[in-house]
Amino acid sequence: MNTTAADRDIKTMAVQYGQKYGILIALLLVCVALSVVNEFFLTQRNIINVLRQASINGILAIGMTFVILTRGIDLSVGSVVALAGVVSASMATTSSTAAVAGAPYAFYIAFAVGILVGMAAGWINGILVAYFNVPAFVTTLGMLSAARGLTLLYSGGRPVPSLTPEYRFIGTGDLFGVPMPIALFALVFVLAYFVLSSSRFGRHVYAAGGNPHAARVSGINVKRVRMVVYVISGALAGLAGMVLAARTGSALPQAGVAYELDAIAAVVIGGTSLSGGVGRVTGTLIGALLISVVNNGLDLMGVESYYQQVIKGMLIVAAVMLDQARHKHA
C-alpha cells in the first residue's frame, strides 16, 4: 500500500502522542466509561474518595520514582510505613500502655520523629547500595524484613491506639476544604515535580540513572545521588506511615504489607523505565490515580475484589509493553 508523506506524518504524530499521553488517555477513558455506567462516579464525594485512596500509595510512588530513575528499587517502603507509623504514634498517644515515656509529645515532635525514622531506614539502604555496591533489590529486601521485625519488637505486636487530635489531623482533617492526605500528596507531588524538572539535583538523578559512567565523568557525584534518593523514598514512606496511622486511628504493626508493590506498579504504569534515566513524576501521579480509579470503580459496580487484582496485573503488563514500544520507536 502506498502512503503519502502527510499520512506518515499523521501516523508518526499519533504514535508520538499515544506514547507521551497514552497513560493519561487511558485514565480519561476509564473515567468517562465509569461515569457513563455508574451515576455515583463523578460525584464530588466520590472524587474526593478516589484522591484520598490514592494519596498514600501516591506519596510512596513519588519516592519510588526517584529510586527507579537511578536504576534502583525500594522494596522496603511497606515495612518502613509500619515502623515510622508505630514509632511516631507511640509519641502521640494518650494510651498509657503503648506510649513512650513522656508522651503525648507535641505533634511536630512526633511528626519529625516519623520522618527521621523513615530517613534513617532510607539512609541505611542508600549507603549499602551506593557505597557498598549491594544490589538494591537485595538491600531493600533485607530492610523489608528487618524494618518489619523492628516494628513488631517496638510495638510488641500490638497496635498503638488513642492518637492525639493534632496527630489525627494529618489523616482526617482538612485544609481549606481539601482533606489532609490529598493536600500532603499534592504538596509532595509539586515539590518532586520541581526538584526533578528544574533543580540541579533533579538533572543529576536523570544523569546518574541514564548513563552513570558519563555522569561520573562529567563530575556528578553519582554515589551521593544514589544514596539521597533512598533517603527521599524513606522519608516519604515515613510520611505515608503517619498519614495511614492518622487515617485509621491507630498505628498497626501489620500495616503496609505489600504496599511496595502498588507503589512500583504506579511508577511503572506511569511510564518510568525500570532501566533508569527515563520517566516523569507526572506519569507516577497518573499511575497512582489510575490504580485508585479502577479499584473505586469496581467497588462501585459491586465487582468482587479478586477481579481488581487481576485487572491491576494486566494494567502493569500493558504499561510495560507500552514502554517497550516507546523504546523501539525512539
Binding site: 455508574n38 455515583f40 460525584t43 464525594r45 466520590n46 474518595n49 484520598r52 485512596q53 498509657s96 500502655t97 513488631l152 510488641g156 505486636g157 500490638r158 497496635p159 491506639p161 488513642s162 482526617t172 482533606p179 495511614l244 487515617r247 485509621t248 486511628g249 491507630s250 498497626l252 504493626p253 501489620q254 500495616a255 479499584n295 473505586n296 467497588d299 462501585l300 459491586g302 468482587e304 475484589s305
Partner: protein
C-alpha cells in the same frame, strides 16, 4: 575407633541427661500460626501466665508459624525430634495442618487444638470458641438495632479461612430471621482495617443512606468502617456496627458508643488447652487455670472431652472498663 566410641558415649550421656531432665518437667510446645497480630500476642501471653508454667511444673516453648503452613509442619518435626511431651496447635490452615497432626500422632505425642480448627480426627481435644455462634451474635445485635429491616453490609475475612466460613454461617443464620433486611454488599477486607475503610468509603458513595448496619467479621474491619463513616462526614451513631474479637481498639470504641464487639477469650483458649495437654501427660492432673471456675458452662470433665467450647462474652458498657484494665 576409640575416638568414635568416645564420641558416641558422650552423645549417649548427653541424650540421657536431656531425657532425664524431660522426665523431671514435661515439655509442651505451642505451635501458633503467627505472632504478628494482637490476638495471638494475648493468647501467647496468657499461656506464659498459666499457673503451671509460673510454678515451673511444665516447660512451654512457643513456636511462631509466621503464617506459613510449611513452617508449622517443620516446627512439628523439630518438636518430634526433640521429644516434646505434648503439642498445642493453632494451625494457619484447616487442611494443611492435618499432616503435622498425623506426624505427631505417629510419634505418640498428643496434640491439643486451640483457637483455629484443623481437619483431623487425631486431635486429642480442641479448646476454642464456636465461630458460628459469634457470627450469629454480632449479626443479631446489628439486626436488633435496625429493627430487623433496611440495608446492611457484610465485611468478610479472607475467603476460605475457618473463621470467615463459620462467622458467615452465623451471619446468614441471623439474616434468615429478618427477611426484610437486604444485604447491599458483601466483600472481603482480609481482616484489615485499611482495606475495610476503602471498601466502606466506596459503599457509602454507592448506597448512601441505605446502609443502616455494618457486620464486620472482626473488630479491625468494623473499626475501618467507622473511620470511613467519619471521613464521609456522617454520624457513626446513625449506624449499627458490630465486630468480633474484643481487641483493645474495639474495647475503646465500645466505650465511646461507636460499635458492639464480642470478646473472644484467647486467654481461656490458651490456658484451657494447656490444662487439657497436661492432663494427658501427668497422671491424676487437676486443672490449675482459673478459667474453669470463670466458665461454669464449660465443665472440665477430667480433661477427657473431645471439644471444649470457650463461651463468647459480649462487650458492654458494664464490663468494658474491667476488660481494658486486664490489658494494662
Amino acid at each position: 575407633m576409640t575416638k568414635l566410641l568416645r564420641t558416641m558415649t558422650i552423645a549417649a550421656a548427653l541424650l540421657g541427661s536431656t531425657s532425664a531432665m524431660a522426665q523431671d518437667v514435661p515439655r509442651v510446645g505451642a505451635a501458633v500460626y503467627g505472632l504478628n497480630a494482637e490476638f495471638m500476642q494475648l493468647w501467647a501471653a496468657a499461656l506464659a501466665q498459666h499457673p503451671a508454667v509460673v510454678e515451673g511444673k511444665v516447660n512451654v516453648t512457643v513456636f511462631d508459624g509466621r503464617y506459613d503452613a510449611l513452617v508449622q509442619q517443620e516446627q512439628f518435626e523439630t518438636m518430634i525430634t526433640q521429644g516434646f511431651d505434648a503439642i498445642i496447635f493453632v494451625p494457619i490452615d484447616i487442611e494443611a495442618g492435618a499432616t503435622a497432626v498425623q506426624a505427631a500422632h505417629d510419634a505418640g505425642i498428643p496434640v491439643v487444638g486451640s483457637n483455629t480448627r484443623v481437619n483431623s480426627d487425631l486431635l486429642l481435644s480442641y479448646v476454642g470458641s464456636n465461630d458460628v455462634e459469634s457470627g450469629y451474635m454480632e449479626a443479631r445485635y446489628v439486626l436488633d438495632q435496625i429493627g430487623c429491616e433496611g440495608g446492611v453490609v457484610i465485611i468478610e475475612g479472607p475467603i476460605g479461612q475457618s473463621a470467615q466460613i463459620e462467622r458467615l454461617e452465623g451471619n446468614q443464620k441471623a439474616l434468615a430471621e429478618c427477611p426484610n433486611v437486604t444485604v447491599l454488599e458483601q466483600q472481603t477486607a482480609n481482616w484489615s482495617r485499611a482495606e475495610a475503610q476503602t471498601l466502606m468509603e466506596n459503599w457509602l458513595t454507592r448506597h448512601g443512606d441505605n446502609i443502616k448496619g455494618v457486620i464486620g467479621q472482626n473488630d479491625e474491619m468494623a473499626l475501618g468502617a467507622i473511620e470511613a463513616i467519619r471521613a464521609a462526614g456522617l454520624d457513626v451513631a446513625d449506624f449499627a456496627i458490630a465486630g468480633i474479637d474484643g481487641v483493645t481498639d474495639a474495647l475503646l470504641a465500645v466505650k465511646a458508643g461507636d460499635m458492639a464487639s464480642i470478646l473472644q477469650d484467647g486467654a481461656a483458649q490458651a490456658q484451657g488447652a494447656l490444662d487439657v495437654a497436661l492432663a494427658a501427660v501427668i497422671d491424676g492432673y487437676e486443672p490449675m487455670s482459673s478459667i474453669w471456675e470463670q466458665y461454669p458452662d464449660m465443665p472440665w470433665n477430667g480433661g477427657a472431652d473431645a471439644q471444649y467450647n470457650v463461651p463468647w462474652t459480649p462487650v458492654t458498657l458494664e464490663n468494658v472498663d474491667a476488660l481494658l484494665e486486664m490489658r494494662q
